[in-house]
Amino acid sequence: MDLNSIYTELIMEHSQHSHNHHHLDCPSHSMRGHNPSCGDDITLELKVVEGIIEDASFTGLGCAISKASTSMMIDLIKGKSVEEALELVSVFIGMIKREITDEAELEVLEDALALQNISNMPARVKCAVLAWHTLKQSLEEKE
């Protein structure tokens, strides 16, 4: 395993200085995501207005990979519709499970494409997918 392909500058930037790590003023959605075995514990906040995710943020603790993944996801979904966000969740999870390998298809993930190599680290897959599962759960629960 090559650590260079995992702990990249982009991932460090998102995990250590995330502009998305704060509370929202009046979130319409708030959902906790937890990996009990390792202690990743994030809360995702969303402000959804008329089917559009106007704003999103997160709070909590986690490893570099879970925090970077959460922050990248938030950048990606801001301004998107709920349907678009759910579609992005399935593309991301498809990428991590190596079910989607076509680069063109994965381009929609923008920065989060940097997490593709996590699929080579089985022990860390759950860190990378935590925020995405939490988003899906949050959006589906409110429907």
């Binding site: 250590q16 009990p36 990743d40 514990d41 490893c63 570099a64 680290m121 022990a123 860390r124």
Partner: protein
């Protein structure tokens, strides 16, 4: 005692010569499970090649061989912990199953509404949830012995929490999360004064120190074979004969009966009453070989080797300003488990980065969520040693640790 050098001893363990991620493997996750010597591995193969049949049932040659393999293992376990009789040794899958057996069989029979069960906040989930669920089922009260900032059980906790209402105390001997050695003898003696029965979770102590159930006066002792060179899937429940005698069976089925009628059954005597169905014979045999290996090396020597390793690792870790150490600073009060964090780094990142250097450590809450919450820790990294580890391996561990922060973009 075995006077061989550590270099010779390591040759007994095929997996210690493995590489991990292109680096020599440095295995420091022994509190989770240990590596196995040739002798144990060979015994499993040998059993299936030469002695395999269903024990206790047939009158034929192989069945007698299998019975002999299984029962001679029970006797080796008895002698190892100095129990009075092999009737007091029940084979289970692991310490977890032993504790669940106790909660169901002893607990459901003896715990009544309003009784108190006392455990410590150090407990592994396996010595916590069975008692929590029993307390709920019986409307009993579950009480905790709390610890100080170094994870030591406080004396005043022992003398105030264990009362005349306490019927059962279940206490770990050594914490798997912090390495704390608990004052188990003091707890047993005081609990006995109050009329309570005491279970000792020896999962982290039996593999590392000489444990004598008579000297300790434990009512029950549980441990797992795989944490002491044995195979997975074999564990032990020791209990004083008079207590086991009074317990109802936990599982019903073959081999644990005397006479079965359409509406009634009488049960076999100890230890068979508590071992239903075909047992893990090769597991018991592997555990026997593991114990014989440990005894040949000598438990005193094992303890001394691990003390030296732990002291060396602790000293080297203490020199690193980037490391936060948890648990007792007094080395006489800790075992070969060291819990720590690299400053600003989540332990899972630490463990992944260490893995790239070939170093196997554990990260997480170590199946002790209430303890982590009580100590105000989210998760920790944990290095745990066994006698086959070396100071050279600890040097690799330390050198690798120095690189962790760099990977996460910190200067040093």
């Amino acid at each position: 005692m075995d006077g061989r050098s550590i270099t010779e001893i390591r040759k007994d363990f095929p997996s210690l010569t493995l590489s991990a991620n292109g680096k020599p493997l440095v295995y420091l996750d022994n509190a989770a499970t240990t590596q196995k010597p040739f002798r144990v591995i060979a015994s499993l193969k040998d059993y299936y090649e030469r002695s395999n049949a269903n024990p206790h049932r047939g009158a034929h040659y192989l069945s007698i061989m299998a019975t002999e393999a299984y029962e001679s293992s029970r006797e080796v376990v008895r002698a190892f912990i100095n129990a009075w009789s092999s009737r007091e040794i029940i084979f289970t899958r692991n310490a977890t199953e032993s504790l669940n057996l106790l909660a169901h069989s002893y607990g459901m029979t003896n715990i009544k509404e309003g009784d108190e069960i006392v455990i410590s906040i150090l407990e592994h989930h396996s010595n916590l949830i069975p008692w929590q669920q029993l307390a709920k089922a019986k409307k009993a009260q579950l009480k905790y012995l709390y610890v100080d900032s170094e994870g030591q059980v406080k004396d005043e906790e022992i003398y105030t929490k264990i009362t005349d209402k306490t019927k059962l105390v279940s206490i770990t001997h050594i914490s798997n999360a912090l390495g704390t050695v608990t004052p188990v003898k003091r707890i047993i003696d005081f609990a006995h004064e109050k009329g309570a029965v005491v279970i000792v979770d020896g999962s982290q102590s039996v593999p590392h120190i000489k444990l004598d159930v008579k000297a300790l006066d434990a009512d029950f002792l549980v441990f797992s074979g795989h944490k002491m060179l044995g195979p997975m899937g074999i564990g032990v429940l020791y209990g004083k004969e008079k207590l086991l005698e009074a317990m109802p069976p936990f599982l019903f089925g073959g081999d644990m009966i005397e006479y079965v009628h359409e509406q009634e059954t009488t049960f076999a005597e100890l230890p068979f009453k508590l071992e239903a169905g075909t047992q893990n014979v090769e597991g018991a045999l592997g555990l026997k070989e593991a114990i014989l290996y440990l005894e040949k090396l000598g438990m005193d020597r094992i303890e001394a080797m691990e003390k030296e390793l732990t002291a060396y690792a602790f000293e080297r870790l203490s020199e690193l300003p980037i490391i936060e150490l948890y648990g007792p600073r007094d080395l006489s009060k800790r075992s070969s488990v060291i819990s720590f964090n690299v400053k600003d780094v989540h332990p899972h990142d630490t463990a992944s980065i260490m893995d790239a250097y070939g170093v196997a450590i554990r990260a997480g809450h170590h199946c002790a969520q209430p303890l982590m919450r009580y100590m105000n820790l989210n998760a920790t990294a944990r290095a745990s040693f066994y006698f086959y580890n070396t100071k050279d391996e600890i040097d690799i561990f330390i050198d690798s640790l120095k690189n962790v922060r760099k990977w996460l973009g910190y200067g040093s």
